[in-house]
Amino acid sequence: MRFQQIDQFSAELKADTRAAVYDGSKKGHEKRTKLLYDEFPDPDRLRHIAGEVKQHVVENLDTYLPQVEAKLKANGVIVHWAATAEAANEAVLGIMRARGATKMVKAKTMVSEETELAHFLEKHGMEALETDLGEFIVQIDHDHPSHIVKPIIHKNRREIATSFEKNGLGAYNDDPQTITRRARNFLRHKYLEADVGLTGANFVSAESGRIVLVTNEGNSRFCLAATKCHIAMIGIEKIVPRDYDLGLFLNLLARSGTAQDLTVYTEFISGPKSPAQPDGPEEMHVIFVDNGRTEVLASECRDILRCIRCGACLNVCPVYRQASGHAYRSVYPGPVGAVLSPLLMKEKFPQKADLPKASSLCGACNEVCPVNIPIPDLLLRLRNRAKEENVPSPGTPPMGAWALLASQPTAWRASLFGGKVMNYLPTKLLPIPALRAWEAKRALPAWRGGEFRAWMKNRPKQS
């Protein structure tokens, strides 16, 4: 018997990991709800409007991209465009080589995860060090992040202490405070030695060309205080129309992502440092990255480009909580990943066409989304696309018999009556693969076929 890939991964998950992911995501979701509903008169309206703003941007990128490019140039920023992941990485390498740079400090950016920038630079003899604590741990472990905002939600302190010891960061000590201090002491000298600081961007204002970066640890600020060259890798969908809109989005981002009123460091960058300021980049580059986004824009799933990467949909998702982020085999896990990851595969869509099926379509992801993305609808569209492209779907129960019955009323009625037999059969022993897969993980409820029809028939007529 075969399960779907994501079910298989979940079934083999270590109990420790499952507990860590489940508790972490549940806590995150509960704190978020409390914060939003305690303080705003109408948080639901807030996210609907934010969703409309982003949808407007997505559907008018042909206007906003040239506008933002002109503003950035006027601010003294060198603007690059990268159609693919390879082009984005080459652009970074080109900038470093032109400066004679060999050392980069990196703040957390999901786009650079997509392009696997750190690996690429290391292969070309550059040092590219992750500075976000979680990302740093992922890097020294040769692991992958499993959550958009909490990259090591799948690890416990003992695993971290072990890898610190292995990497020469002190004798085994699993106290989270000691772990953090050791990373602080190690990394601060790395920032000061580095030539280039690389960041992403949370928002870019088309009106002013202002780039907004948020972090809690202060690592992106350190990158921009210690190095002389700033490179920002930015997905083309990260634009908001005006500075005015930043008030709205900043109010939503931290509350949705980590249940904070505001992230500790919220930085507004509109170019290289001021001439009078002794610290910070004298040269600034922005690389706008497509890497599949224009394909998403052309598809009927373009709404997913509204996403502001807060991770709220991961935290609330019953499938994510059970399966963990790595089960999605992608940079973007959870409900947003189930939509975005297969789309970003472009022509290799079939390889991840199973992800949109990893959902009960309960709709919780849509309800918490700060930009109100109709994720369940998008999942259905992708399931439909997989069906139309005849992508094989191993582990999915065959629906042929059901389709036959559902199209013939007489057969349907007969089966409703006949189904009662199921209550008297040892179903666990039946050699039907779909049934066995079901019973391996759950108990089959008693057959109640026909009750709804009877109720429908007998209910009092309403005028």
Partner: protein, 216 residues
């Protein structure tokens, strides 16, 4: 200086990818009969209005700063006492501020008005000017124009931001409206922190572990 133009040429981006992206964007959007309109909204929606009431911005700022584990002080003497209590006796101070503060600091302190990045671990505290503050979030606003050194406000364990009482904005939209033309503005809301290890909150990751606002 002669090398500068050559460097600029080397880093000039090529335009093939730009054209490819722009043409794909236009192609993707061409079939849309209607584009989603920009919604009309006021930022009042995103303001924690019920919190403000009749209270002044300073009271709310202090309250919210405490909520994010920051410290709000109004007396220089209290600041000196707090630094002494934490045994933070060596530090950096913005040269513009030092004449005002110096008379209050005792001989047990070593305060420098220049910052040497080679001695990053020597500074236990850094005192710099803030461009303003935000009441509803307990946020301190730093800008390139008012911060004497970005590193001086970031690397010491304790950061003291000197905030003028008249420059406390009540909410985020107001502070956004006041961003101005500075090429770098950063809002700091409490000490640097992480919850990456098992969701446990630890303060003082890459930036300060103690954030003080001295409101004058």
């Amino acid at each position: 200086m002669d090398e500068k133009p050559a460097q600029a040429i080397l880093t000039m981006p090529s335009s093939a990818d730009r054209e490819a992206i722009f043409s794909r964007v236009r192609g993707a959007l061409a079939p849309l009969h209607e584009r989603a309109p920009m919604p009309d909204y006021t930022t009042e929606l995103a303001v924690l209005r019920q919190m403000m009431g009749n209270r002044d911005a300073f009271t709310i700022f202090s309250e919210r700063l405490v909520r994010v584990n920051g410290i709000a002080l109004t007396e220089i003497a209290a600041l000196v006492a707090r630094l002494r209590e934490g045994k933070w006796l060596q530090g950096y101070c913005d040269p513009v501020l030092w004449p005002m503060l110096a008379p209050h600091f005792g001989a047990d302190f070593t305060v420098e008005t220049t910052y040497d990045r080679k001695r990053v671990d020597d500074y236990a505290f850094g005192i710099t000017r803030a461009a303003g503050a935000i009441a509803e979030t307990g946020t301190i606003i730093l800008s390139d124009a008012t911060t004497s050194r970005r590193l001086g406000a970031l690397t010491p364990w304790v950061h003291v931001a000197v905030v003028e009482r008249a420059k406390i904005y009540s909410d985020l939209p107001q502070a956004v409206a006041a961003l101005g033309s500075d090429s770098n503005v950063i809002w700091v809301t409490g000490p640097s922190k992480t919850a990456d290890v098992e969701g446990i909150l630890i303060e003082g990751v890459h930036g300060p572990g103690v954030q003080i606002a001295l409101v004058v």
